[in-house]
């Protein structure tokens, strides 16, 4: 990007205005006259009338009186999927009238699969949606609103967490029921804590105690006290989620209230990345070159004192470290907050779905959500509060300990493609990697990234009208 244009964009981010040229270009995209409809029809596409559809509201939550079979798609490949399959088998055994057939696709291209299925009229009844995919799929007419189910069960944020409840809504409608939250979580090696003269049962909880523990392990055991991922295939994801957690802790917001400007180049963003860089350069507790996943391997091998990973690593760490593993909420470096993803369950706009099928789908979704303690064993926090409060969940030591931070879990703004601000090309994740590798200044890198996403946000606002 040219230097003067960059400076100009940074001005725009600061002043939140749009250049005339940019506005004209956006208008040009929006004002197209020729639609692709006829061509697509010739290719066998099926377009829904509108995202809202016209289905009748479901009035009771019970298995339908006649037998119904439902297709259920998910991206839960690998061992995680087996927990889900166990649950579905249990459901099918208990509910003779509703038989659910699970189909698992690797992700990617799970969402591409759903889009082609929409195009060819082969959507399943129920699909798992990552929470940040809801707005896009809702806007594209792949999902149907579930406000009738919400009303029927009288659900509210209090039944889950307020943050996730906000995020399953798009344009004031509820589009899915949250199943789990997978938060960035904190793991430590109790053995190395002991060797470093630290109390393995009292993990660090704030900036000072975390830095002190990292330094003690680094200097006394000879293995790194902590590892900040600096590059590699998962670099953007792993450094990005670590940074986002600290960014949330400092009170960071991705956008302004009406989604017209990216605001993650704020003080919260800058101090978060500067802190990560300081762990490498100033405190020297993290090595200079850490490829993604090598921090996970090193921790599992007992060659890394502490690690921040997604909660889905829990089972792997337990297998490797056994009773030497400590797990809990992230230390509060600048306050409360942690990055989190979430799987949600949604009903699609499948062609010709009957009221019976819809009712059965609602019944299944509610059943799955209230029985999700089995799913928690895969390394997940149940989104449903009643499940988190159950004795069965509290019997899972790592998960229930990490669950203490559930109300601190933060999500992307509920607009299409919001996750790109962190993971996309030129997003915050790339900026973070550039900064911690000493390629760019913290403020400049985030300014440049926010300038790019200011343009993208405005294009998206034009396209989707959020």
């Amino acid at each position: 990007m040219e230097q003067d244009r960059l400076a100009q964009l940074i001005d725009e981010v600061r002043e939140q205005r749009l250049s005339r040229r940019e506005a004209l270009r956006l208008a040009g995209i929006g004002a197209g006259t020729l639609a692709l409809g006829p061509l697509l029809a010739a290719c066998g596409s099926s377009k829904s009338v509108g995202p809202a559809g016209s289905q009748a509201a479901i009035a009771s939550l019970a298995p339908p009186s006649t037998a119904v079979s439902l297709d259920f798609w998910n991206p839960w490949s690998g061992p995680d999927g087996n927990f889900a399959k166990t649950m579905v088998q249990q459901f099918n055994g208990e509910t003779k009238n509703v038989q659910v057939k699970v189909t698992t696709f690797p992700n990617p291209p799970y969402y591409e699969k759903i889009r082609t299925a929409k195009q060819s009229g082969n959507l399943p009844h129920i699909a798992v949606m990552h929470v940040d995919a809801i707005p896009q799929n809702a806007a594209d007419g792949i999902l149907t609103p579930m406000d009738d189910l919400v009303k029927l069960l009288n659900l509210s944020g209090g039944d889950f967490t307020e943050e996730i409840w906000k995020d399953i809504h798009y344009k004031s409608q509820a589009w899915a029921i949250p199943l789990d939250e997978h938060t960035e979580s904190f793991y430590w090696n109790k053995d190395l804590f002991q060797k470093a003269g630290l109390d393995p049962e009292k993990p660090p909880t704030d900036k000072a105690s975390f830095e002190q523990a990292a330094q003690a392990i680094t200097s006394k055991t000879g293995v790194p006290g902590f590892m900040v991922v600096t590059s590699g295939p998962g670099g953007v994801f792993l450094s990005g989620t670590a940074w986002a957690s600290v960014f949330y802790q400092g009170g960071g917001q991705w956008t302004n209230a009406d989604y017209t400007a990216a605001t993650y180049n704020s003080q919260a963003g800058v101090q978060a990345v500067e802190w990560l860089r300081a762990l490498i350069n100033d405190l020297k507790v993290s090595p200079k070159n850490v490829q993604s996943d090598s921090e996970i391997a090193a921790f599992a091998q007992g060659k890394n004192g502490m690690v921040w990973s997604g909660i889905w690593q829990t089972t792997r760490y337990q297998d490797a470290l056994k009773d030497k593993l400590g797990a809990g909420p992230l230390p509060q470096i600048f306050g409360k907050g942690t990055w989190s993803g979430s799987h949600t369950l949604a009903v699609t706009s499948r062609k010709g779905m009957s009221a019976q099928e819809r009712q059965a789908a609602y019944y299944f979704i509610d059943w799955f959500s209230t029985h999700s303690v089995e799913w928690a064993k895969a390394g997940q926090l149940p989104a449903r509060k009643s499940v988190r409060d159950s004795a069965a969940f509290k019997a899972l030591p790592a998960q229930s300990s990490i669950a203490k931070q559930i109300d601190d879990a933060r999500f992307f703004p509920a607009i299409p493609a919001a996750a790109d601000m962190l993971f996309g090309p030129g997003g915050a994740g790339e900026a973070v990697l550039a900064v911690i590798n000493g390629k760019k200044d913290a403020k400049a890198a985030l300014d440049e990234s926010a300038a790019r996403y200011l343009m993208i946000l405005r294009q998206n606002k034009q396209k989707y009208g959020f």
Binding site: C43, S77, G78, P79, D80, G81, P106, P109, H182, W312
Partner: protein, 285 residues
């Protein structure tokens, strides 16, 4: 019997060269074999050991990865995937080699109006990134009502231009005189093609078969789009055994070892066939 390789007649008086050859071959072989050994070693490690045990020889060797892959079930019908893969790759290769050889022969040997333009058009599409075609090909397949069928998995491969280009280049190298002789004997084009050109092109056909077979066998993205469940081939099927967030290294490597075996067999059979055809036909200039 004629020697299959060149310079073999000199091997008797070039002992040092022979030793040098072996030294070079073994050096290169090490480069090729070391990562493969790591692959096999990892395939024999359990899910945790695959990241914790960094030794070359597994501390707790296990066949669990292989067992897990080969234990077919309703959700992971591995043998069904294997069968689909075998059909798609086997039949696909036969058809593809046949279609492209025919086409390539015309481009190499016969002049006809529009030939240059047509050939350029074919080659141009070879230059396009294949990911480009994903969505439109899906639309075509869906329009034909072939979603999740064996032909759907085969058709895009059969449309490929690679074989045409490949066979044409080999046909260009076959001396024309041989065909002329057959023509003088009264054979028409198809007979010349079948009884003179194809036998001479056996090394090329065998090579193309291996390449095509492998392309079908390893194809991942297209089957993922065009199939589901037990209609799939092996690569997308095995991918569903991998975790959404966490890679199962041992399982990945075991799958790779198993999937490589049929291709290696095809390759070695083809090699044998090439050697036989060269020794028996003994191409003459």
């Amino acid at each position: 019997m004629r020697p299959a390789g060149h310079g073999t007649s000199r091997s008797g008086r070039l002992r040092p060269a022979r030793i040098g050859l072996f030294a070079v071959l073994i050096l290169i072989a090490l480069f090729f074999i070391v990562p493969l050994l790591w692959m096999v070693s990892t395939s024999l490690k359990g899910p945790t050991d695959a990241i914790v045990d960094t030794g070359w020889i597994p501390q707790r060797p296990t066949f669990d990865n292989f067992r897990q892959i080969l234990s077919t079930s309703g959700d992971t019908p591995v043998f069904r995937w294997l069968l689909n893969s075998a059909i798609v790759s086997g039949v696909g290769t036969l058809l593809s080699v046949l279609l492209t050889s025919l086409s390539a022969y015309a481009f190499a040997r016969i002049d006809f109006p529009g030939k240059g333009l047509l050939f350029s058009a074919l080659i141009t599409t070879l230059l396009l990134p294949s990911v480009m075609f994903l969505v439109p090909q899906f639309l075509v397949i869906n329009w034909l009502g072939l979603y999740n069928t064996i032909p759907a998995l085969m058709l895009p491969g059969l449309a490929g231009v690679f074989g045409v280009f490949f066979m044409r280049q080999f046909f260009l190298g076959i001396p024309l005189e041989l065909e002329e002789a057959a023509y003088v004997d009264g054979a028409n084009r198809f007979r010349t093609f079948r009884s003179v050109v194809l036998p001479l092109a056996r090394p090329a056909i065998a090579t193309l078969s291996v390449i095509t077979f492998l392309a079908f066998w390893n194809d991942y993205l297209w089957p993922l789009i065009a199939c589901q469940g037990d209609g799939c081939t092996l690569p997308p099927g095995l991918a569903t055994l991998q975790g959404q967030f966490t890679a199962q290294y041992g399982l990945l490597m075991a799958g790779a070892v198993l999937a490589a075996i049929p291709v290696l067999v095809v390759y070695l059979v083809a090699q044998r066939w090439i050697v036989q055809s060269v020794t028996s036909a003994g191409i003459k200039g």
